[in-house]
């Protein structure tokens, strides 16, 4: 039989519905066949629409309390594709919500903050760990404001050479040099294609 080139031929894949998402935290909306008219029956406001001059004041109440949090970081990087499988890092459980650390947790948006992301490779000799770390780092650099310090590492004990990989990922100059490399850049771009916003 022909030997596969893949590092890990048969990784465990999570279903999209199993991934942590913001919707899960909210109350589950009714969705049975009887709920087709819920918007008319149970809405807070009825169809008086003279509200253009006198605005109702509560509609936007919930948008104020949404500082950048772990879930948002997770949403940013869990959609990065794996370089060898047609799945995202979230589905492969490489990126995990509890392994994203934000300090201060929800502090002053203008002050300095640190994001630490610990990755869990699917197998401990994964040769692609560095490129995955690089893509995650690149994605965060593009998506987070400049006052965030980004730290991407392999979770302790999940990779045979984690120290070496971590060292590479922490070295700003090496990261910058890697991203100058055309072939590496194109791999990273392909991995980021699945990231929407």
């Amino acid at each position: 039989m022909q030997k596969s080139d893949l590092d890990n031929e048969n990784p465990t894949i999570l279903n999209v519905s199993q991934l942590p998402s913001r919707e899960q935290k909210k109350a589950i909306a009714r969705h049975g066949p009887d709920s087709s008219y819920d918007h008319l029956l149970f809405s807070r406001y009825h169809s008086s629409d003279a509200s253009s001059v006198l605005e109702d004041d509560e509609e936007y109440e919930d948008v104020f309390d949404d500082a950048l949090d772990q879930q948002e970081i997770y949403d940013l990087i869990s959609t990065v594709s794996d370089p060898e499988h047609p799945h995202t890092l979230g589905e492969l459980n490489v990126v995990r919500l509890p392994d994203i650390h934000l300090t201060p947790p929800q502090g002053d948006p203008r002050g300095l903050a640190t994001v630490l992301v610990e990755l869990t490779p699917t197998i401990n000799h994964c040769s692609l760990a560095t490129i995955i770390g690089l893509a995650v780092r690149f994605r965060l650099e593009q998506a987070l404001p400049p006052n965030y310090r980004i730290d991407v590492r392999m979770k302790e004990g999940t990779h045979a050479q984690d120290e070496q990989v971590n060292k590479q990922l922490a070295d700003k100059e090496r990261v910058a040099a890697a991203l100058e490399n055309d072939s590496l850049q194109s791999v990273v771009n392909t991995m980021l294609k699945t990231c929407v916003v």
Binding site: G32, H46, A50, S51, V53, Y60, Q142, P146, N147
Partner: protein
């Protein structure tokens, strides 16, 4: 004499088809004018002699020399023959005499053995023309076939189009009954000509020709009784093509692979005498195993099906092969994985069963069908007990048994028994699930058989009447209930899957019907069993209400949904069950404490009311007899009555203190609303919308009728029913009308109660709901009916009845005017005509500025919405109650004066004016939608008001957009009068004249700013094409708005910004070029605005300010980023490069915006700018 020779020469020399056609027509005319005299025809035929002679002399040489030698001769000769064929085409069909046709057939026929290079196409064309002549005789047809067949090997050397001609000739000859009988007479059963044909055409590959060739074969097979040897030859000829496929070609020819497959299939199924060849051949193809692809397999199966369906005499043509077919096919289902193959296989098996049943006119002996089913049964019985194959075996058996009524009657009992035995010894949970699935499919198929019983044999219905029922009756207790009880106790995911299937099965079982002796239908299950089924389902649905939030831990909503659908399907046939469901649910609702209702309770209530409405009202019940059905339960509107009266009974659930909202009450009223919504949908789905139009014939005053009814009329209807309603047939559109009548009664009842009830129960929210219900019901009534019910007046009278004639006597709580809105919303303009008497109700209402306290904002909103409807649905003129067309004009003048006063003298406080302005603008908006000319008269007032330096003028400026804002109330659904281009009209009259005043250079910067606000307010509510012509001045205004902001209050400023940015987004996506010269201002201004709109920028916008302004700030940031993000997509890089760096920095910061939605847009924008290098 005619110069045929010249014409022939001209024809030969000409290269253009029209010219050739003309010459041929000339020749034909000449022959016609001579009456086809021998000489003329002779001359005509001889006209091609020069070319023929040359050919004759060179023929032998050519044969020796091979291909070369006289290429131009061939072309000329072909053309010359084409001249003859073309003339024949143009010639009158009746003209030529028999001997002339014989001569010509002989002449052209000879070409096939004599001139293979030049003569064929023209000769084939000519022969087709000759075939169409009146003097054509069948023996000439035979001769034609024989002559053409002489082509032999040279046939395949001809071009495809020549061959097409020949195929068409063959086909028309063979399809001609006279020719075919002549052929049979001459050749007998040996059909020697067929062999020649087969030899001639055996190598055909052109798809278009193949279609004809297959057709010819089909006709031969169907019409000629060929000898076995010849049949075998024919079979070999076409079966060699099977399975046929078509290579995709760059030049499509209009024939698909499916067409070819169909044509070959038609050959196979042409006649039963090839059955002995067909079935073994197809079976052998099928049994090749993995070598056969899915597409080929499906092709084979479809071909078998076509043969089974087409062959006559099944005893000899099909029965001998059934066992072989079955033995091959069963594995396709048993071990099959592809749905398409499985489905097609089942279709074949079903087709066999139907064939063995016989046709509608000729029934076959029952033993044939029985032995077929026995064969299937024998093989499947053991598989049913084997969990790996249960599903497949069940599917096979079920399909065959429910193919037709006779098959069903023969074997259904043993099938059900067999399934039941397996239920007693299930091997695994999945085995149980599969068995339930099979049983469900069986019940579903049985339902279908009973429904379509009239389409089969006449005897079928008789047989179904005598159907044994014990085995089906027992299913509930023996099978379903047992599994339910066992699985419901351990609701793990596997068991829930089984329970879902059982739920579906219960619904199917309760729906089963039997044919009674008199031919009518009745329910199979006894009332007792139906009740038991409903109790089980009801239990699942009311569980949320009976338990507390801690106990109700199962959160699998899909099972509840299944139960919901099942219960609905049951109560539609077994009507008493719904009463029980409603009773149980309302009892549980009453038991709960609604004074301090928890969120869990409220959710449960929400679920309960919408489920009640969905189960009872989302379909129209059928009247099917059951042993316990009460006479009153069969009315199609009974469930609707049951639910609405039950809701009215429990309302109000709580009596809240003043100022607090009781959601429970609101949810209860939502039950009535839901019932009406669902039932209306059911009616519109079942009856055509025209059903309502036809009822204008009996437009009585329903409201007056209601006045004579006792107060507990609805309750009585629920308990004892009504003769008229019970007599309604579910298919009669009158059901819709009766439903609307009942709904109007409900509206009247609720309005009367609400307008005289206590304010703590009838809160603004509930009154709003009532208004929505009223609008929903009234909207569906025809204009005539609305007039005869006098609904226009009732809008202000709240159905109070004759004792309170004057509207002033109605108690008016702060929000009671909502009720007026509800009625007016649904009325046709014609039904409101009486309101517009000069000085009448409408005018008084529209000019009323009193009584807005204490709920200034809300009260004015409500009044504004009513005002907008009243001003819109106005029709003045002769023969109306306002012949001078002055009422609304006076109203507009009144409000114009109010605005003028408020913006010139210091009298009106801004807070009060804001409320009045809201009413004024909505009234004017109503008039604007129907392009009332009186609106134009207000323009000077607006101009002056906005230009004035009074504090109130800003309010007018920023609310001007209301005039063209889309509104729910002003929609065609609500019978509002909307002119198609009213926005254009309003824009050109209101906004356009303001442009010069708004330019920054104009005198009075602050006035210019307000004019700008007004323009932006209007434009942001219009679509791009409305202001397309003014993009240039508009862009200048927008740039000014982005860069200069002074002289306005913060609130107006942020609102103005939002409008400006909205318009920018529109222009960017529609006409970005207009912005090319302003990129610097847009980008610079945009960046600045973003900075200023950030909450921590305390000196401009305080964080935690009033929510409306905070909302505007967030909106502004979102829109700025949207604009900035769209810029790189619309312009070339050379325009963008200068800003790239600073923007990337700014967008980087924006990625840390405090609002998540804004951050998302910022990231997109940042991504777009990153690509600019």
């Amino acid at each position: 004499m005619a110069n045929f020779k010249d014409w022939a020469l001209q024809y030969v020399l000409s290269d253009e088809e029209p010219a050739q056609r003309e010459i041929a027509t000339k020749a034909a005319k000449e022959i016609e004018s001579s009456g086809a005299s021998r000489t003329v025809v002779g001359n005509w035929a001889a006209s091609v002699q020069p070319w023929m002679a040359r050919a004759q002399s060179g023929y032998d040489d050519q044969m020796d020399d091979g291909e070369d030698g006289g290429g131009s001769d061939i072309i000329a000769r072909a053309k010359a023959l084409g001249f003859l064929a073309g003339t024949l085409k143009a010639l009158d069909r009746k003209l030529l005499k028999t001997d002339q046709v014989v001569f010509l057939v002989g002449f052209f026929g000879a070409m096939f053995s004599y001139d293979h290079k030049a003569g064929i196409t023209a000769s084939a064309k000519a022969l087709r023309q000759l075939y169409a002549m009146r003097a054509f005789k069948p023996d000439m047809g035979v001769k034609m076939i024989e002559d053409v067949s002489k082509l032999k090997e040279d046939f395949r050397l001809q071009t495809a189009s020549t061959r097409l001609e020949i195929y068409e000739l063959f086909l028309s000859l063979i399809q001609n009954p006279a020719v075919s009988s002549e052929l049979q007479h001459k050749y007998g059963s040996s059909c020697g000509f067929t062999v020649d044909l087969l030899q001639l055409c055996q190598n055909e590959r052109d798809p278009r020709n193949l279609m004809l060739w297959f057709k010819i074969i089909t006709v031969i097979l169907a019409n000629f009784s060929t000898s076995t040897e010849v049949t075998e030859e024919i079979f070999k000829a076409f079966s060699a093509y099977f399975p046929i496929s078509l290579r995709s070609s760059a030049t499509p020819i209009g024939i698909t692979a499916e067409d070819l497959k169909g044509a070959v299939r038609a050959c196979f199924s042409a006649h039963q005498h090839i059955a002995a060849l067909t079935f073994p051949f197809l079976m052998q193809k099928l049994d090749q195993g993995d070598a056969v692809t899915v597409a080929v397999k499906v092709d084979i199966l479809k071909t078998i099906k076509a043969c089974v369906e087409q062959y006559e005499n099944p005893q000899t043509s099909i029965v001998p092969y059934i066992e072989k077919i079955w033995n091959s096919l069963k594995y396709e289902v048993r071990n099959g994985e592809v749905k398409e193959t499985i489905d097609t296989t089942l279709e074949v098996l079903q087709a066999i069963a139907n064939k063995l049943d016989g046709s509608k006119t000729q029934r076959l002996d029952a033993t044939l069908l029985k032995s077929y089913i026995d064969l299937v049964f024998k093989d499947c019985r053991d598989d049913l007990a084997n969990p790996t194959y249960t599903k497949q075996a069940g599917l096979l058996l079920m399909t065959v048994i429910t193919s037709n009524a006779r098959a069903y009657m023969l074997e259904s009992v043993s099938f059900v028994d067999c399934i039941r035995q397996n239920f007693q010894q299930p091997k695994s949970p999945s085995h149980t699930r599969d068995l339930v699935l099979i049983l469900n499919s069986f019940l579903k198929a049985r339902l279908e058989l009973i429904r379509s019983r009239n389409q089969g044999h006449l005897e079928d219905e008789e047989q179904l009447k005598t159907e044994p029922r014990v085995h089906l009756d027992a299913l509930f207790h023996d099978v379903y209930l047992g599994i339910w009880t066992a699985k419901a106790n351990e609701p793990n995911s596997e068991n829930i899957e089984i329970l879902k299937q059982v739920t579906r099965g219960l619904a199917l079982l309760a729906n089963q019907q039997v044919v009674q002796q008199d031919g009518s239908r009745a329910l199979l299950c006894s009332g007792k069993i139906c009740s038991e089924i409903c109790t089980l389902l009801t239990q699942c649905l009311v569980r949320g209400l009976t338990l507390s939030s801690n106990d109700n831990t199962t959160n699998d909503a899909t099972f509840e949904e299944e139960a919901l659908l099942a219960l609905r399907s049951v109560v539609m046939v077994y009507t008493p069950a719904y009463e029980e469901f409603v009773r149980r649910a309302t009892t549980e609702i009453r038991k709960r404490d609604w004074e301090n209702a928890s969120a869990y309770s409220l959710d449960a209530l929400k679920n309960a009311v919408s489920q009640l409405a969905f189960v009872g009202c989302s379909q129209i019940p059928s009247a099917i007899a059951s042993d316990t059905t009460f006479s009153n339960s069969s009315s199609p509107v009974q469930h609707f009555i049951t639910l609405t009266t039950a809701v009215l009974d429990i309302f109000p659930l709580s009596t809240p203190g003043p100022g607090t909202e009781a959601l429970a009450n609101s949810y209860a009223i939502a039950g009535v609303h839901a019932a009406i919504l669902f039932f209306r949908d059911a009616c519109t789905a079942k009856y055509q919308p025209e059903a309502l139009v036809s009822y204008s014939k009996s437009d009585k005053n329903w409201i007056e009728e209601f006045g004579h009814l006792p107060d507990d009329w609805l309750q009585n209807l629920r308990v004892s029913g009504d003769e008229n309603l019970s007599a309604l047939d579910e298919n009669d559109p009158e059901v819709y009308r009766q439903f609307l009548k009942l709904s109007l009664y409900l509206v009247r009842h609720l309005y009367r109660t609400a307008s005289s009830g206590t304010q703590s129960i009838w809160t603004g929210r509930i009154l709003g709901q009532l208004a929505d219900i009223a609008a929903l019901v009234i909207r569906n009534l025809g204009e005539q009916l609305q007039v005869s019910c006098n609904l226009g007046l009732e809008a202000f009278n709240f159905f109070a009845g004759p004792q309170t004639q004057s509207p002033e006597q109605i108690s008016t709580g702060p929000f009671v005017e909502l009720l007026t809105r509800g009625v007016l919303e649904g009325l046709w303009p014609g039904a409101m005509a009486d309101l517009y008497n000069p000085g009448g109700i409408a005018e008084k209402f529209l000019c009323n500025t009193d009584g807005l306290e204490p709920f200034l904002g809300l009260q004015s909103e409500i009044r504004a919405s009513i005002g907008s409807i009243l001003a819109n649905k106005y029709k003045g003129g002769p023969s109306t109650s306002d012949p001078e067309v002055q009422t609304v004009k006076r109203v507009l003048v009144f409000w114009g004066e109010e605005i003028r006063k408020a913006t010139t003298s210091d009298g009106t406080e801004p807070k009060i004016f804001q409320a009045l302005n809201c009413i004024a603008m909505h009234i004017i908006a109503g008039a604007t939608a129907r392009q009332d000319k009186a609106v134009v008269d207000l323009i000077p007032v607006f101009k002056a008001a906005i230009g004035s330096e009074h504090a109130n003028s800003e309010i007018v400026a920023r609310s001007l957009g209301v005039l063209v804002k889309d509104s729910e109330l002003l929609k065609a659904d609500n019978h509002a009068i909307i002119r198609r281009f009213y926005k254009q009209w309003a824009y050109s009259h209101l906004a356009k004249p303001l442009y010069p005043l708004a330019s920054p250079s104009a005198d009075g910067a602050s006035a210019a700013t307000r004019y700008r606000t007004a323009i932006l307010s209007i434009v942001s509510n219009c679509s791009f094409n409305v202001y397309e012509a003014d993009v240039e001045p508009l862009v200048r205004l927008l740039i000014t708005t982005l860069t200069e902001r002074s002289g306005l209050s913060q609130r107006v400023l942020s609102q103005q910004l939002v409008s400006a940015l909205e318009i920018l987004v529109e222009i960017l996506s529609n006409e970005p070029d207009a912005l090319k010269g302003h990129l610097k201002a847009i980008i610079g201004g945009g960046m600045k605005i973003y900075e200023e709109c950030l909450p921590e920028n305390k000196h401009k916008a305080e964080a935690g300010g009033e929510p409306a302004r905070r909302r505007n700030l967030i909106m502004a940031r979102k829109l700025v980023l949207q604009v900035l993000g769209a810029v790189p997509k619309k312009f070339e890089e050379r325009y963008l490069l200068p800003y790239s760096l600073q923007l990337q920095r700014m967008l980087g910061l924006a990625c840390g915006d405090p609002v998540r939605e804004v951050r998302q847009i910022a990231r997109l924008a940042r991504g777009n700018w990153l690509k600019v290098v």
